[in-house]
Amino acid sequence: MNLSLYLWQRGTAALMAPMVIVHLVVIFYAARHGLTAADILGRVRGSLGWGSFYALFVAAASIHAGIGIRNVLSEWSPLAERTAGIAAAAFALVLFGLGLRAVAAVTLP
């Protein structure tokens, strides 16, 4: 871990703190009202607001998880730090790709 990774890690964490709270509220709301797929999609399809919110959330989460995985791999696995960095970056990219696809699936009209 160096200064650069540290800033990205803490920065995305600070950005996501309020986003996680919003997401938890959304989860509780959907559960409380027993929303079906149709209900959920009906509310978020075509919404620029929800689309941007979750796209940003996905981007931040991918970076944050990537750096976290990098730390865990370099400290807890036999991988060398460089290899751990490559593996973590690959994971972050996969997460980002799948995440954007999911956001598109749910919010694009």
């Binding site: 997401h23 938890l24 989860i27 509780f28 999609l41 976290g68 994971f91 799948l98 999911a102």
Partner: protein, 122 residues
Amino acid sequence: MTVSVARTARRLDHRKDALWLAALVHRLSGLALAVFLPLHFLTLGLAIDSEARLEGFLRWSDAPVVKLAEGGLVFLLAVHLLGGLRLLAVENLAWHDGQKRLAVIAGVAAAVAAVAYLAVVL
């Protein structure tokens, strides 16, 4: 004469300390969330095919055992958030004694959130 292979035959004792456990829980919850996220994204991606596919999944996930697992996920997310906030506080705010108590409270709060979720869905 006892024979021992490991240098630290007795488990390292500091691994029972509240703040060390808080750090471990933070790391393990992050790992678990990282494993869960791709699955979560793939599930939501089902909506691309059709709303019916996503609905089919949502019905499957009505089963109580799945709801219990979801409660677990709510716990993981809440505990990871609170642990992260603790870290940001230690690193950026003035030093505060009494963090052990706060760490325990955070753990309990996350558990409460998970139980509240389960109370709503079960």
